[in-house]
Amino acid sequence: MTDQNNPPLLSIEGVHKSFPGVRALDNVSLTLNAGEIHALLGENGAGKSTLIKVLTGIYVKDSGSLVMDGKPVHIHDSLDAQKHGIRTVYQEINLIPTMTVAENLTLLDQPKRMGLISWRSAESRAREMLRRVGLDIDLRSQLDSHSVAIQQMVAIARALGSKARILILDEPTASLDSQEIARLFELMRQLKSEGMGIIFVTHFLDQVYDISDTISVLRNGCHVGTFKTEALSRSDLVSHMLGKDLDTLHHEQSDSSLEHGNRQRILSLKQVGRRNMLNPLDLDLHQGEVVGLAGLLGSGRTEVCQLAFGAKRPDQGRKSWLGTEVSINTPKQAIAQGMAYCPEDRKHHGIVAELSVRENLILALQSARGWWSPMPMSEQKAIVDEFIQRLNIKTPHMEKPIGELSGGNQQKVILARWLITQPKLLILDEPTRGIDVGAHHEIIQIIKDLCGEGMSLLVASSEVEEIVAFAHRVAVMRDRTKVAEVSGDRISQKSIIQAIAQ
């Protein structure tokens, strides 16, 4: 593609990488030019992370070659990668939260005077690094006193350091709100204009179209193709990623003309709220109905879920369950009534990483039964097997620690955990966050099926498109307040976005 005089910044040629039983990368070739933002897309398990780890020296490729500026390079460990100017910022920020900003920035390479750290020059160096990313914060403040977005910027500032030529951003936007994303993109454009080659991994297609010049798609370890962004339509992109036509997947609006006049009211919230968390709101949930919670990050979506389930105790308002007033202030009370809750933060509030898939799956039901009444092992296995099949959970065996599964499969186990308790109301907070397109679609389908079976669902999501696809009614949140309720035929991306933006 490039002429001889101006070889590409990096070309990856025919790279293979296998793990026992899995071919993670199969003859993958990519080219990254200076001043290019190259989006790397694919489902979970497509090989994106493996490719990044090969580039950063965490894995050593089995065969193939890496060429920088026309010269072959060998990357055996992360120091090699550093030496060649390859820098990475991971989704999970790997900075030290309890240290100051300046300490984090200069941790690996502290300026010394006579063998002692010179904090003055460390700070001036840190200031220089922050200036590069356009950040003006107190260097002596503790890192975790800043928002995730700022921490992400600090991570990028550290990654850029000196001599960075290739910047790999692995899901950098997963925990950012739209303003913060805009800020990050501004920075990416600036770096691009300075001649940096950027590899950008994300699940958000909007962002891909916003920022990238080139798109490469991986599927099952193979390189499907590399495309100019402006020449690739969205549906083509998704079909490349999924290997099937999108028409069957998307744009199917739910049958939102649900008559809930004669349906039983499952849960109703009357002026439920909590100081500094959520302004009091009313919300009714009916049998067989999916209610969406839309809004920006921090708008109060998550808080509605938490207060409804009793994960946080509301300090005002009343709840009634099936028409009678009850007190639901703790998860235990909520579960006893027939509620279930998949929290947003799957890693810290959902899975129990050390325990096996089987144990994770039966825990909620076992908890409801009480410790003195254990489920017989044969029954456990039958139920776990059934749900592994039904939800298409990919695990080699049910005794595998759940922490070792991919995000999408973890989420399915958490869903299964609650489904076996046969709840009347299922609360899902961001059920599709951080999982690949295939599992994403499967989970949306599960939501629809459950609703068809008469379950009531409350689903918070930052993806308006997703809410439109399944919700019968949408509560729109802004600034910790419910600002609108849209239902029936009036549910559309446009109406929801208008309500948020008003």
Binding site: P331, A353, L355, L363
Partner: protein, 339 residues
Amino acid sequence: MQFVSKPRPDAKTLAPVISLFVLIMGTSLVTPGFLDISIVDGHIYGSLVDIVHRATPMLLVAVGMAIVIGTKGIDLSVGSIIAISGAVTAVLTVNTEWLPFVVMGCALLAGMACGLWNGLLVTVFGIQPIVATLILMVAGRGIAQMITGGQIVTFHSEFFNAIGNGFFAGLPLRVVLAIVIVVATALVLRKTALGLFFESVGANAESSRLMGIDSRMLILIAYVFSGFCSAMAGIILAADIRGADANNAGLWLELDAILAVVIAGASLSGGRIYLGLTVIGALIIQTLTTAILTSGLPAQYNLIVKASIVLLVLLIQSSRTRDFVKSRLMLARRSSHVE
């Protein structure tokens, strides 16, 4: 099509068992007659029996410790609880006409009350377990000294003699007692869902809470149980020497107990309880102590040798060492092929 199969038992669970076996075999080479077992008057005797006999107090403490560590806690106060329960046993035996059963019940209750205190500090006041139990570790010996009036209180009681050094069905009674407690604990953990709940709370307390698991109550139970086990150990130790020594009873035992749990493969960050392997771990430590004493090694080397062998066992345990050795072996094999 799903491939659902059983995982293989991993090397990690085998390591402590193999370590114990190797240790016993190694000692028998150094110390002749180490493996001999004889039956005198229908009672079983021998070095191995002696090891199990001596190991019982620490083993009991380790069992309680395994559960506390499983909930992501730690109990440093076990030595002090041993002193307190020993003191209670001695003072009540000397000063009252109460039935030995009642005295023993009081000592056990005292230990459980100590555990309750620890548990409350951890759950209600949210103090980190290492700090919370450190308080009783320090204060507990003081309490024991107050109970005994600062003296070593000696006592005579047929009942407690039997617990300390008696036999039941040919086996040392205290060993039988320990077996009963361990088996009962294992049954309660694995035949009810209690074990799963302890592990779930230890691995992720917030997830567990959101599933309706009462993590506070479980943590409280864990510390009370640890208190019970320590009290039992204290009773056995006091019965053994027919007296209560508030200053020295169970001194440093918490370290051996924690070590036993770690040798069993548990992580101090909680989430897994290996009861059987903890027993093996306790036996490893006691075998080591006994072996060094009987080997005739100059006394000043004891601690160094003990520490070195424990380190060796932990290295065998570590998956990183195993990977290293495996890759070295593979390299060696490959190069020998080339030649």
